[in-house]
Each structure stands twice: as structure tokens, then as C-alpha cells.
């Protein structure tokens, strides 16, 4: 009964991984008409020596470790607030979940418009509050934070769902006992909610990190990796190498690097995280 799943795994996961690894050891460049010229680790050496690659990796790590804490923090906050049933809580849950439901390209189009200088919503608000106008996507310093903000907006609702589910499972008696002992809401959160939500938090952190390494959709639409590579992330760089520059050897090397990073994250989740969770 394992056979069909095994076949799918082999065809779509294992074989491509090894193919990419194999290809990364050759120079395959359509622009210079090189077909499978043996290069050993030259592609990797070229990448690690390239300032562009270093910037891409820096951008990617800044993006990953910048969006994950905020997505999770916001998700946890929203979940805790919306956990109680008050009038309108269902409406608010829908509102905060809706960004997850729309496709990334739709979200990117909306935010592209919002970030437009002069008449975009963001700039009109800035001007209203007395700040000057900002070309957020056109400025190297602000482009990546702008993309990060949009990503947090998109993802928070998704993780909020996980937290809501986690919160539903927390035993009410603990909270009643805490109330009786006179614990403040903040103390309850810190001492009860946070530790008990650890399973969810660690799961969500890993999923979020892995997703952030795979970010690419909004970059195509909003910045094309610019300005001057300020928002050039790993998967976008890979796409450029493969489909703009036709340097498939380097693209294969980038694929291997991306897969290795994702595998490390997956292994961390499987081995280290799982062992640290205390299940009831």
C-alpha cells in the first residue's frame, strides 16, 4: 500500500533532487552554448564568491528571521483576543483570516497599488499624519521591509487559526485555578498560555521559516528583485539564473543550496522540536 506514495515521492522529489545535484557539477549555459561541461564545484565556488549571491542570502535570512517572529507574535495575539466569544468575534476572525484565502498574486496587486507613490493608500495616510511621501518599493532601504510587512499581513491569519485550535484545547480548569489564585491576565498568559502553546508555536515557527525561504510570487509582481537587488531572494535569484540567464548549472547549484537549507529546517523540526514538546 506504500507503493503509490513511494512512486510519487521518487518521481517528483527524490529523482529531481539527485538530478539537480548532478547537474550542479557541470557548466550548462545556453547563452554560451555549453552543454554538460564538467566543472566539479566551480558553480558553487562562483556562487560563494559572487557579491550578488551574498546579498541574496543576506536578504533571504533578513526576510526569514524578520517576518517569522512578527507573523507568529501577531497570530498569537489575535488568537488570544479572538478566543473568547464576544459579539462580532466571528466577523473579526473572518477579517483576519481573509488575507490567507486570497492568492498571493492578488495580495501583491493590492499592496502594489497601496504602496504606489502619491496616490497609494499608504502614502495618503503618511501625508495625512504629517509625514512626507515615500516611494516605499522604489527605495533600496524600504523595499524589503515593505515586502516583509505585506508578507506578515498575509500569513498572520493562517497561523492565527493554528493558535485558535491550540487554545481551544487548553483545559479551562487551569485558568479557573489561576483566577482563584488572583493571577492577572498577563501572568496567566505568560505562565499558562505561552508554555502550553509551545507545540503550536514550534510547529508554526518551522512552517513559517520554510515558507519564507520559498517566497517568490510577490517579488515578480512588486519589485522584480529590485531596486538594485534589495528584494532579491533565493528562489527569485534561482529563477533568474535558470530562465533569464539560462545558466542551468548555476541554477542547479542554487537548487541544491535551497534544498539543503529546507532539509535542515525540516530535520530540526522533526528531531529537536518534537522531543521538546510536552504532551498532556
Amino acid at each position: 500500500m506504500l507503493a503509490p506514495a513511494l512512486v510519487l515521492l521518487l518521481v517528483f522529489t527524490i529523482y529531481p533532487m539527485f538530478a539537480a545535484g548532478y547537474m550542479s557539477l557541470f557548466q550548462i549555459n545556453m547563452a554560451t552554448r555549453q552543454q554538460m561541461v564538467w566543472a566539479g564545484f566551480a558553480n558553487y565556488q562562483q556562487l560563494f564568491a559572487s557579491p550578488l549571491f551574498r546579498q541574496v542570502m543576506k536578504n533571504t535570512f533578513v526576510f526569514a528571521f524578520g517576518t517569522v517572529p512578527f507573523s507568529i507574535g501577531l497570530a498569537m495575539y489575535l488568537a488570544v483576543q479572538l478566543n473568547r466569544r464576544f459579539r462580532g468575534s466571528a466577523l473579526f476572525r473572518t477579517i483576519f483570516f481573509y488575507p490567507t484565502v486570497i492568492p498571493m498574486m492578488s495580495a501583491a496587486t493590492i499592496w502594489l497599488f497601496m504602496y504606489t507613490p502619491q496616490y497609494g493608500v499608504v502614502n495618503r495616510l503618511l501625508v495625512l499624519f504629517g509625514f512626507g511621501e515615500l516611494n516605499l518599493l522604489g527605495n533600496s532601504a524600504t523595499a524589503l521591509p515593505a515586502i516583509m510587512l505585506m508578507t506578515v499581513w498575509k500569513d498572520a491569519g493562517y497561523f492565527m487559526l493554528f493558535y485558535l485550535a491550540g487554545l481551544q484545547n487548553l483545559p479551562a480548569e487551569l485558568y479557573e485555578a489561576a483566577e482563584l489564585d488572583g493571577a492577572s491576565p498577563w501572568a496567566q498568559f505568560r505562565r499558562l498560555t505561552l508554555p502550553l502553546l509551545m507545540p503550536t508555536t514550534l510547529f508554526v515557527t518551522t512552517v513559517s521559516l520554510i515558507n519564507s525561504f520559498k517566497t517568490v510570487d510577490q517579488l515578480f509582481l512588486m519589485t522584480a528583485g529590485g531596486p538594485n537587488n534589495a528584494t532579491n531572494l533565493l528562489l527569485y535569484h534561482l529563477y533568474e539564473q535558470a530562465f533569464s540567464f539560462y545558466d542551468r548549472g548555476v541554477a542547479a547549484a542554487l537548487t541544491v543550496i535551497l534544498v539543503v537549507i529546507l532539509m535542515i529546517l525540516a530535520i530540526i523540526q522533526n528531531q529537536w522540536v518534537d522531543k521538546r514538546i510536552h504532551y498532556n
Partner: protein
């Protein structure tokens, strides 16, 4: 059961990879050609292309053209290259005229010499195309592409904003451009004097200033670039000064797509944009506007050409190549090019098109349509070299660094030259 589904999927994939021509029932001699095309300017171009393809099949019942809309130029090139890699070579496509080196280097297209010579009027047909457009259609003396939707950069100006600022005529040179820009720019009202886009195709806009300073950015063989020439330094410095010294243009990367929109909303007095945006602006602007030559630099007027050519692909067989050539001849008939030009704002690339009654009437009614053709005499080839996408990215990055204030002009141009030379090294003689 999952395995059965998987096998069905694989069988389905296998079936699709046979060539479409062999699957057409009905007429034995019916040839089907796939036509991949981009849409790069605003307007309902997809419908127009499909109508033209249908008209062609009506007049040539034994050739069926399947037009496939493929996004913008970059997407279309990616799609075409991927298809070739996957063994489903397309038959004919419209791609950037500057993609010619990439296509020839990857052995994707055929030279058109034989097809041209086989036609009785072949030589006069080619001679009818404006030389500025043929410059990017050849490598050496061999023709590889036929101009179809060609463009060049022109200046659109808001007559109201200009006259309010005291100018009755659009600026004719760099000094007048700065003066007009300063008079129009009102930061409090959110109105800028000039906008020159710096995303999408930053190299194209920057090339204007190189040409106007006296030296184009590359040689004819596509093996050398001249980013750090004194002429280019002068040109790009002027562009930078518009932003940081004269403050008539906003800092940061200016979006290609929103520049015509800003113009239409009256937020900017003058824009540099593709002639292909003319129809869209004409239909949307509710104020009087004009089209003018790009203000002249130290060495006079100048502009790079742009836009797409027809290409025929290799390895599709004699019958399809003949069919594709017939389709190209049909699409580039003078009347048809004239109509296409009026529907889109692209510049009709043939002299004969401008002599048609259709075009003469249109220009008489709205002189804006004639400006790009008049500027053609000052037009030069668009930046096009081997390993083009890499060289574009190198130069684009530096231009964006300049308009962002991250780098000074000499530093950026030297860096661009250094990187480009490294990338062009395998192609040097």
C-alpha cells in the same frame, strides 16, 4: 488505485507531446502553426491579434494559426525557451528585437535569408523597413527578425501644466527641459516636472542620454559595451542631476507601469515613455497633451528603438517554416501594419505603411501619431549584445543604484563596465 491514476497521467502527458500538425483530421494539407506573442503596452491587443490570425486563416484556409498570449516580453522568451527545451518547439513568435543574440546563441531560430530570396519582391520588402528598425534585426548582414511592433521612446507633455508654468512650446533640449521641469514641479501639490521610469527597462531609458551625448552603448557585433565612456558618463550624470540637483524628478525607482497613469492623472508634466503608450494615453487623458522629440542633448536628438520582431524557429520542418513566413508577410503588409500601429501606438516599421491613406488621414487628424516616425531619423539601435539578459541586469542594477542615491555615476558605470566585460569575455574575438 493511486498508481493507476499516476499511470493515466503519464500516458496523458505522452499523448500531448506529439506535434499538433499530425493530429489535425479533416484536410490533409492543413498546417497548424503556433504563434506566441507578448503584450507589453496597455490596450485590448489580444483581441486584435486573434482577429488578425483568424483573418489570415480565412484567406489561407490550409494554414491554421494558433495565437498564444504569453505575458510580457520576458515571459514570452521564457515560455519559448522552455518549450524548446521540452521538445515542443513553437513555430513563430514575436520577441524583443534585442533577443536576437540570445536566440541565435541557443540555436533556436533560422536566418531568414532563403525565405527572403525566394520571394520575388523579397529584397524590396526588406528595403522598405526603416533602417533604424533593421539595425536590431540583423547580425552582420544576415536578417533574423522582421520588425512588427516596434517602438521608440518619446516625450509626452501636458499642455495645460506647461502653459500654466509659462511655456507654450515643449522643451527642445536639456536646458529647456530643466527649466520647464523646475517651473512645473510643485512638491506640495504632489506635481512633478518629469518622470523617467527606472524599473522594467531602466537600461532603455538611460540609453537615450548615451545616444544624445554622442556614443551608443555597444558595437555592432554585440561583443563590446561602452558603459564607462565619457559620453555615457555625461548622459547618465544629466539624468541623475534631474533627480538630485534640479529636483524635477522624484528619487527612487519610478515604476514603468504607473508613469502613464501619473501622467493621465495630471501628477507629472512630462514623461519619457514608449510610443506604444500613445493610444492608451489618447483615450484616457482629459486634458490637451502633445508628443514631442526627446529634448536634444549635446550631440542632438536621439532615441533607442525598441519593441518586437517576428522570428521563425528551427527544427519545425519545411512546411511549417513556409507557413510561418506566409503569416509574417501577411502580418507585415503595409495596410495591416498601419492599422496595428493606430490601434496600439506602435510605430509602423515600413515606409509603405506611412503612405497608406489610412495612416495619412490619421496623422492629419492627430499629429501626435507622426512624431515617432519623424524622430526615426535620429534613432539608433537598442542595447543588444551576447548574453543579453545578464548584461541588461548588470546595467539595470547600476542605474537603479544611481537613481536611489546609493552610488555616484562614475562608480556605478565603472562597475557596470567591469561586470559586463566579464560576462562578454567568452564572445570576444
Amino acid at each position: 488505485m493511486l498508481l493507476a491514476v499516476l499511470l493515466l497521467m503519464l500516458a496523458g502527458c505522452g499523448g500531448r507531446s506529439t506535434s499538433p500538425g499530425s493530429q489535425s483530421g479533416g484536410q490533409n494539407s492543413s498546417v497548424e502553426i503556433s504563434f506566441y506573442y507578448p503584450v507589453a503596452v496597455g490596450g485590448p491587443l489580444t483581441k486584435l491579434i486573434e482577429d488578425m490570425a483568424a483573418q489570415f486563416t480565412k484567406e489561407n484556409p490550409d494554414i491554421v494559426v494558433k495565437p498564444v498570449f504569453s505575458g510580457n516580453y520576458a515571459d514570452t522568451l521564457t515560455k519559448v525557451q522552455t518549450l524548446i527545451q521540452g521538445g515542443q518547439t513553437p513555430d513563430v513568435a514575436v520577441l524583443l528585437s534585442t533577443d536576437v543574440y540570445t536566440l541565435v546563441d541557443s540555436d533556436a531560430i533560422i536566418p531568414l535569408t532563403d525565405l527572403i530570396n525566394a520571394d520575388p519582391d523579397g529584397t524590396s520588402y526588406i528595403a522598405d523597413f526603416f533602417p533604424a528598425f533593421m539595425a536590431n534585426s540583423r547580425i552582420g548582414d544576415t536578417v533574423y527578425g522582421i520588425p512588427f511592433q516596434r517602438s521608440m521612446i518619446v516625450m509626452y507633455y501636458n499642455k495645460e501644466l506647461l502653459s500654466q508654468a509659462g511655456f507654450s512650446e515643449p522643451p527642445r533640449n536639456w536646458d529647456e527641459l530643466v527649466a520647464a521641469g523646475k517651473a512645473i514641479t510643485k512638491p506640495d501639490a504632489g506635481i512633478w516636472g518629469i518622470k523617467i521610469p527606472s524599473d522594467g527597462y531602466p537600461y532603455w531609458m538611460a540609453q537615450v542620454f548615451a545616444i544624445q551625448s554622442g556614443r551608443n552603448l555597444m558595437n555592432d557585433d554585440g561583443t563590446e559595451v561602452y558603459f564607462n565612456s565619457p559620453e555615457n558618463l555625461q548622459g547618465v550624470s544629466f539624468m541623475r542631476d534631474l533627480i538630485f540637483t534640479h529636483k524635477v524628478m522624484p528619487e527612487g525607482v519610478i515604476s514603468w507601469a504607473s508613469t502613464p497613469t501619473d501622467f493621465i492623472s495630471g501628477k507629472v508634466g512630462m514623461i519619457y515613455h514608449s510610443s506604444g503608450s500613445l493610444t492608451n494615453i489618447t483615450n484616457s487623458a482629459n486634458f490637451p497633451f502633445g508628443v514631442a522629440f526627446l529634448p536634444a542633448g549635446p550631440k542632438g536628438y536621439g532615441a533607442p528603438t525598441g519593441g518586437g520582431n517576428f522570428y521563425i524557429f528551427k527544427g519545425i520542418g519545411e512546411a511549417k517554416q513556409q507557413a510561418a513566413w506566409k503569416f509574417i508577410r501577411f502580418m507585415t503588409e503595409p495596410e495591416r501594419l498601419a492599422q496595428w500601429s493606430l490601434d496600439t501606438g506602435y510605430v509602423a516599421p515600413r515606409q509603405a505603411s506611412w503612405d497608406t491613406q489610412l495612416m495619412k488621414d490619421a496623422v492629419a487628424k492627430d499629429p501626435n501619431y507622426g512624431v515617432a516616425r519623424d524622430q526615426l531619423q535620429y534613432a539608433r539601435a537598442e542595447l543588444s549584445v551576447h548574453n543579453n539578459p545578464q548584461v541588461y541586469k548588470i546595467y539595470n542594477d547600476q542605474i537603479q543604484a544611481i537613481v536611489n542615491g546609493q552610488k555616484g555615476v562614475p562608480e556605478a558605470l565603472e562597475e557596470a563596465q567591469r561586470q559586463a566585460e566579464a560576462v562578454l569575455a567568452p564572445f570576444g574575438r
